[in-house]
């Protein structure tokens, strides 16, 4: 692969060193576990959290004479992902063997795709807020087997091996070296995860290991030649990715500024120290002896197969983002926040459909998401359903309750549940718009506070005090607009 610089250096991202400015160049290889019932080449279950070695077939355990058979659903998932990344789908691809010895690799080789991957070049669009949009190139996506898991802490001088994961399908999604800051890298990972989750091709749960990133980092003078890269292996959170990149770039800059050179090597990030450390040098790198797997035929499908998958593709985050703006009039920022999680945007749309979109966005983002994140909950576990929240909005727009009361009502629904309309009835939360009733209260307040009446005639700004009094008397239920009008006319201001 030839490296092409597609970016214009952005001073904002420069890291200043003792000898001048530096720029990071980052590329990522993301391993995303394919969402599928069974493994890539065997019928074993992929269910997470089963007891060790319970999802293991003869094929997964590499028994003599066992043969792999491709799981077509994994192929469909890879093609769907390719389509979601606006990538070239290769109608003919090959499986190769990557040979190395490790106890959790029963075959002694991993079946992967080396020269001819199933998906070619694509693109991921990043919304960087005020910094605008940037397109990150995808080099390729290929299918491969996951390895098992070695467990070293169960016995004083033996290691245990769990093959539940052995043979589970992974998509390795390789970016071009187009990222230029840890913020971009984080945004890329998040966006990729969002796309995969929309597509339903990977659950994106980094903490469970179903999505992990190998991050290639190098530094250079802004816009200069690419430097020597180091690869940080198996980073399993967006936050760690940011930390690892920051640390690694700084480490490389320090070496270069001291007149040293960067050794191309594989490194590990330690979340405890926030540092990366050397795992193996280029010289220690394996010779994987790739060659086409003779047990498998070339993977071939036709345009109709791709078209069928394309047709059933869900709306993707970028399209949804634009539609939210056009259809509901939400701000681009709010649209970005909403589309980040499919469950969030689905919730939002359930609330906003046929209602005031801007109001819905405001409420969903500020009230609901705010409250959920405070409680450490996700949208799926929200005690207030989209139907309930929608019903609260209906009460506002029908003039039944004020915005302020709506917040109280939200609180009640959150803690106690129930039908908002009924709650308003039962608890007498209805807004008082009856001018007769309000006039009566206003009269009483004017009569009881002659001093204030004097003052407000000189300083109309004090009107708020009267409004407050009325609200106090009506427990906030008076229609604020009616209160204002009546007060102004009675006070003659």
């Amino acid at each position: 692969m030839s490296l092409v610089d597609t970016r214009t250096p952005t001073p904002k991202y420069f890291i200043s060193g003792a000898t001048g400015d530096w720029e990071m160049v980052i590329g990522m290889e993301v391993h995303a576990q394919v969402t599928s019932e069974s493994k890539l080449f065997s019928g074993s279950s992929t269910e997470f959290g089963r007891p060790p070695n319970s999802n293991v077939s003869f094929v997964d355990a590499a028994m003599p004479g066992m043969l792999p058979v491709i799981n077509e659903e994994c192929v469909r998932q890879a093609v769907r992902t390719g389509l979601g990344l606006k990538a070239k789908i290769n109608k003919r691809s090959l499986f190769d063997r990557k040979n190395y010895f490790y106890p959790d690799l029963p075959q002694g080789y991993q079946i992967s795709q080396f020269k001819d991957p199933i998906v070619g070049e694509g693109v991921v669009k990043l919304d960087l807020g005020e910094d605008g949009e940037v397109e990150i190139g995808i080099e390729r996506l290929h299918l491969e087997q996951d390895a098992g898991k070695s467990i070293h802490d169960q016995h004083p001088n033996m290691s245990f091996v769990d093959l539940n994961r052995s043979g589970v399908a992974l998509m390795e999604i390789v970016s071009k070296p187009d990222l230029r800051s840890s913020a971009e890298a984080r945004a890329y990972l998040s966006k990729l995860r969002t796309i995969l989750r929309y597509l339903g091709t990977c659950d994106g749960n980094m903490e469970q290991g179903s999505m992990r990133a190998d991050i290639n980092v190098s530094v250079r003078r802004p816009g200069g030649e690419f430097g020597t890269r180091c690869e940080i292996k198996n980073v399993n959170s967006v936050r760690f990715a940011g930390q690892a990149i920051e640390y690694e770039a700084r480490r490389q800059i320090d070496i270069l500024e001291d007149g040293g050179t960067i050794d191309q090597e594989t490194r590990l990030f330690d979340p405890k120290t926030g540092e990366t450390r050397s795992m193996r040098s280029k010289e220690e790198a394996h010779d994987y002896r790739y060659f086409p797997d003779p047990d498998l035929l070339p993977l071939e499908f036709d345009d109709a197969f791709i078209a069928m998958l394309a047709q059933d593709l869900p709306e993707l985050p970028d399209e949804k983002h634009d539609r939210l703006i056009a259809e509901y009039g939400v701000t681009p920022y709010d649209a970005s926040v909403l589309v980040a999680e499919r469950t969030s945007v689905d919730y939002f749309e359930d609330v906003a459909r046929g209602r005031d979109g801007k109001l819905a966005a405001n409420w969903v983002i500020n009230e609901l998401f705010g409250r959920l994140s405070k409680e450490g909950m996700s949208v799926e576990d929200s005690p207030v359903s989209a139907a309930q929240l929608g019903s609260i909005f209906d009460l506002i727009s029908q003039g039944e309750i004020s915005g302020k009361i709506a917040k109280d009502l939200f609180e009640i629904v959150w803690t106690e549940g129930g039908d908002p309309a009924k709650l308003v009835e039962e608890r007498g939360m209805k807004q008082v718009s009856d001018t007769g009733a309000i006039e009566k209260i206003v009269d009483e307040i004017i009569a009881g506070n002659p001093d204030q009446v004097e003052k407000v005639r000189e300083k109309p700004g004090l009107l708020g005090w009267f409004v407050g009094q009325v609200m106090k008397q009506t427990q906030g239920k008076a229609n604020p607009q009616a209160v204002n009008e009546i007060l102004k006319s009675k006070l003659g201001i």
Partner: protein, 494 residues
């Protein structure tokens, strides 16, 4: 009652159907014969007597009721490369010590479904790597044939030496075998038996321990062409568990045996006329062509120009795949484990102790030709050669050739512990010179006994067919079989 072991598979099958004798009788006859012969010939690495008798009894029950499959009650020997559930399956290697599979290979399962009885597991070259059956961890197999006036032990050929020797010496009605570069046809030729390697994809590889996946193909060794056809019938068929198996209907092979060769065009490749080819091989070849012509075949000279590159290319492709296929024998999961000071040491100790010399040699060759910097020069080039070899054959078939006749081997069986072969592995590899092209092209090939050398040892001819046209091979093979005058039975000395 005459000796049931001497019957052809077809005759045995018919006799069982006609209730002339029982499967238990036939099975016991074979088990006794094995007991007597095995200490001297060594074709069986495991005899599954109890299982054999159980299967025979079950077959007899069916046969009594007039039921049963096409091989009901027929006792067979199974090459140790086939996984047989709960029975010895070690590819004749030390590294698979005590390994007992929990599964049954597709082919053996089909045979049992058709009623066959398993007598035991047959010796072979370790992991099917060899041409003399001398690389087996279980010791060499001795050819039932001896040169006239000689007591010298000869090799039965390999890698399916146990299958060939057991079939030839009446220690099974027929045997399963496998062929990666000639491992069915060369031992068949050395023992006066019939061996067919079908088209790649005809038989499932599932449950057959892999040597070189793109070349490995199972097939039978039998005492007659008809028996081979009957065996292949039951071994063939599409298997969804093997991605390289081909979804094609299996023709009635036995029906093709007596079809004759009228109107068949036989190609004679000039490149197979090797320098220094013994006159008797040359003579045999010519004789074979005459027999075919006499039965109405047309004979035509053809050229397969890339033939000379086949053997070197084969010895790159096969070891390359083998080096990867054998990586799973690492002491971690099953079979032999030698303790080491760390994991790498454990691997090294285990593989050093578990693999024999020839296996190690090929694993090293394979690792070398796949390594960075050599891959293009060796592996990629060898694959290109392979394409050219395939094209040579396609060209011949497109030009109207129906089958190709060649010698099966450059010589008759040689002695055990042959000095020349031991000193130079290439000499051993040259045994496959006429057979490897067929594997490289994925074509079917049959070896049929055709004559004898000056010492009275059997010699075979090979017929190579179009993809999935095993029928023509059986028909043409039968013509040679009928013409060869018989006498392809060893004198019992064991």
């Amino acid at each position: 009652m005459s000796d049931l072991t001497r019957l052809s598979l077809a005759a045995l099958r018919d006799g069982l159907k006609a209730k002339e004798f029982t499967s238990v009788e036939a099975t016991d006859a074979y088990l006794s014969a094995i007991e007597a012969a095995n200490p001297k010939l060594n074709p069986y690495v495991a005899v599954t007597s109890d299982q054999a008798r159980d299967m025979a009894r079950a077959s007899d029950e069916k046969l009594q009721k007039g039921k049963g499959g096409p091989l009901e009650g027929v006792p067979l020997g199974i090459k140790d490369l086939f996984a047989t559930k709960g029975a010895h399956t070690q590819a004749a290697s030390h590294i698979l010590d005590h390994f007992l599979p929990e599964y049954e290979s597709t082919i053996t399962q089909q045979l049992w479904n058709h009623g066959a009885v398993m007598l035991g597991k047959l010796n072979m070259d370790e992991f099917a790597m060899g041409s003399s059956n001398e690389t087996s961890y279980y010791g060499p197999v001795v050819n039932p044939w001896r040169a006239e006036n000689s007591n010298k032990d000869l090799v039965p050929g390999g890698s399916s030496g146990g299958s060939a020797a057991a079939t030839s010496a009446w220690l099974c009605a027929a045997a399963t075998a496998t062929d990666t570069g000639g491992s069915i046809r060369q031992p068949a030729a050395f023992t006066g038996t019939v061996g067919i390697k079908p088209t790649y994809g005809r038989c499932s590889r599932w449950g057959v321990v892999a040597f070189a996946s793109s070349l490995d193909q199972a097939g039978p060794i039998a005492r007659t062409v008809e028996d081979a056809a009957i065996m292949l019938q039951s071994m063939s068929g599409f298997d969804p568990k093997d991605s390289t198996s081909v979804d094609l209907a299996v023709p009635d092979f036995a029906a093709a045996v007596e079809r004759g060769v009228k109107g068949v065009t036989i190609g004679v490749p000039k490149e197979y006329r090797m320098d220094g080819m013994p006159a008797e091989i040359e003579k045999l070849w010519t004789q074979g062509l005459e027999w075919l012509k006499a039965e109405g075949a047309t004979v035509r000279d053809i050229s397969l120009p890339h033939t000379k590159y086949a053997l070197p290319a084969y010895y790159i492709v096969a070891p390359a795949e083998a080096s990867s296929n054998l990586a799973r024998y690492d002491g971690v999961k099953y079979g032999l484990r030698k303790t080491g000071k760390d994991i790498t040491d454990m691997y090294e100790q285990t593989r050093a102790a578990g693999f024999g010399r020839e296996v190690k040699r090929r694993v090293m060759i394979g690792t070398y030709v796949l390594s960075a910097g050599y891959y293009d020069a060796y592996y990629v080039r060898a694959q290109k050669v392979r394409t050219l070899i395939k094209r040579d054959f396609e060209q011949a078939f497109n030009d109207g050739i129906d089958a190709i006749l060649t010698p099966a081997t450059p010589s008759a069986a040689f002695g055990i512990a042959d000095q020349d072969m031991a000193a130079d592995p290439i000499k051993m590899y040259l045994n496959d010179v006429f057979t490897v092209t067929v594997n490289m092209a994925g074509l079917p090939g049959i070896a049929v006994p055709a004559g004898k050398d000056t010492n009275g040892l059997p010699l075979g001819l090979q017929l190579i067919g179009k993809p999935f046209d095993e029928e023509t091979l059986f028909a043409a093979g039968r013509v040679i079989e009928k013409a060869n005058g018989g006498g392809f039975e060893p004198k019992v000395w064991w």
